[in-house]
């Protein structure tokens, strides 16, 4: 059974007034994670296939080719877990 934890190495809350969350995907799973996310989320903008401005269920986030994503304005950890579950599983 595949789980979100199979793809995610770390989740870091950012320091600053914006309560953003950085998701760092496991190095050996990042390409698979990026491919899955790009299939399901709406691509608003893409820069040289390195950075993707995405939206999913009214949540905007940026995905980096290095395997990191920054989510903005999330209500709580549960919302993040739900979005990651929807996108990755």
């Amino acid at each position: 059974m595949v789980a979100v934890e199979d793809y995610v190495a770390r989740i870091e809350g950012t320091c600053g007034e914006e309560k953003d969350v950085i998701v760092i995907f496991k190095y050996d799973k990042k390409d698979e994670a990026i491919a899955k996310i790009l299939k399901k989320a709406e691509v608003k903008k893409s820069i040289s296939s390195i950075i993707f401005e995405l939206a999913y269920n009214n949540v905007s986030f940026r995905l980096y080719g290095t395997g990191k994503a920054i989510f903005r304005s999330l209500k709580d950890k549960n919302e993040l877990q739900k979005i990651l579950g929807d996108l990755l599983l």
């Binding site: 600053g16 007034e17 950085i22 950075i51 940026r62 980096y64 990191k68």
Partner: protein, 409 residues
């Protein structure tokens, strides 16, 4: 002038690639990288000299004790302290400030007393005083900052009165890199009978430091920001003040004897000599050895040259960054007022986006509040990105940094 290309050969990590790009490390205000001399000293200690220090007769313990004491001597020389009695090893700047708060402040600050703190402090020079004020009931007076991030000296000095018992200020702001005239502040504090505590976390690694010339009573700094390992730092304190202070923590190493009294059913305790009185428990011996090697490395460079090298790099970085119209740069324009720290934001992007974008190209900068949230509130910033330099950084790295910033635009 120092040759950063020659220096880089001593830092193995700088050969790394991140995301297939050469590593550009601009997060030196958070921690510095380590030269092979420090790495080798740590390895050599564990391979050849590891033992617990003091009060053992065997050879290894004597070797470890000698190295650990020698480390205190080297650090004392580095800042021109009177000797190892004035050089207490701690975990880092935060612990050093907490040591002063609890070993001095707990016994000397009471209701009606005042502690003057600058608003440009790192949280580690704010939070201990706030916690202690809740216990002891003294007041904390925060001083205002000028629009360019420099200290308002007149306002600062105006807050110091006969009620002031200690003045707490950073030597260099970890947000803006502004260098404060701590000699002037210490003089003003002493004129009112107050002590001066200086957070030297961002100055000791980058500037020549002479505690006697500065006239400060306490100076706190971290080893890991000055090429040394993590988990080791220093509290300098004037011997006559340290002698009068109570210990910070109790345990082994910090006592001379513990004698049980049958009549009172209590132990009477005699404290150890300085600096051991403040170093309870088995110390970070290896950390001390690593710090000694870092200090030797910096002394070989020459701190005047370290300062000049960073000043030149900062000037160049500021000049290149000012070419970009959509960059907001904070802090004074005059580079002589600051060290190698440049806080900035890119219009329309969060600092974390900027840091992630730069990371994509192997460039490491920090983003967020940098543990200086009050200062961000003064500047009305949600957060900031921060580029900070050290002796191994080059103009070519800055050029590359600017190229990548252009891509963000």
């Amino acid at each position: 002038m120092l040759n950063p290309y020659r220096i880089r050969e001593d830092f193995p990590i700088l050969k790394r690639k991140i995301n297939n790009y050469p590593l550009i490390y601009f997060d030196n205000a958070a921690t510095s990288q380590k030269p092979k001399q420090v790495i080798e000293a740590i390895k050599n200690f564990y391979e050849n000299h590891n033992a617990n220090v003091h009060r053992a007769v065997h050879t290894l313990s004597q070797e470890a004790s000698e190295l650990y004491e020698k480390a205190h001597e080297e650090v004392a020389k580095f800042i021109n302290a009177n000797g190892i009695e004035e050089t207490i090893f701690v975990r880092g700047t935060t612990e050093a400030i907490n040591l002063v708060a609890y070993a001095w402040g707990l016994y000397n600050l009471k209701k009606g007393d005042e502690v003057v703190v600058s608003l440009m402090e790192h949280h580690s020079n704010i939070v201990p005083w706030e916690i202690l004020s809740k216990i002891n009931g003294f007041n904390i007076k925060y001083t205002e900052i000028n629009e360019d991030g420099t200290l308002n000296y007149e306002a600062f000095e105006g807050l110091i009165s006969k009620r002031t018992k200690i003045v707490c200020v950073s030597h260099v702001s970890n947000f803006s890199g502004v260098i404060n005239d701590v000699k002037r502040i210490a003089k003003a504090a002493h004129e009112h009978g107050a002590l001066a505590l200086v957070d030297g976390a961002q100055s000791v690694p980058h500037l020549p430091i002479n505690v006697k010339d500065l006239g400060v009573d306490f100076l706190a700094f971290s080893g890991h920001k000055m090429l040394g390992p993590t988990g080791i730092g220093v509290l300098y304190g004037k011997q006559e003040i340290l002698k009068e202070m109570e210990p910070f923590q109790g345990g082994g190493e910090m006592i001379r004897e513990v004698i049980f009294n049958e009549k009172t059913r209590h132990c009477s305790i005699t404290w150890n000599d300085l600096p051991w009185k403040f170093e309870a428990g088995t110390p970070n011996v290896c950390g001390g050895v690593g710090l000694m090697e870092a200090v030797k490395y910096l002394r070989r460079m020459g701190m005047e040259d370290v300062k000049a090298q960073e000043c030149s790099l900062t000037e160049y970085a500021l000049q290149r960054m000012r070419e970009r119209e959509n960059l907001a740069i904070y802090g004074p324009d005059d580079v002589s007022l600051k060290c190698g720290i440049i806080p900035f934001n890119v219009e329309g992007l969060s600092s974390h986006d900027v840091a992630l974008f730069l990371d994509n190209y192997g460039i490491m900068v920090r983003s967020g509040f940098h543990c200086a949230q009050p200062l961000h509130e003064i500047f009305k910033l949600k957060s900031s990105a921060r580029a900070s330099f050290y002796i191994y950084n080059t103009r070519e790295e800055i050029d590359r940094f600017i190229e990548v910033l252009k891509e963000i635009e």
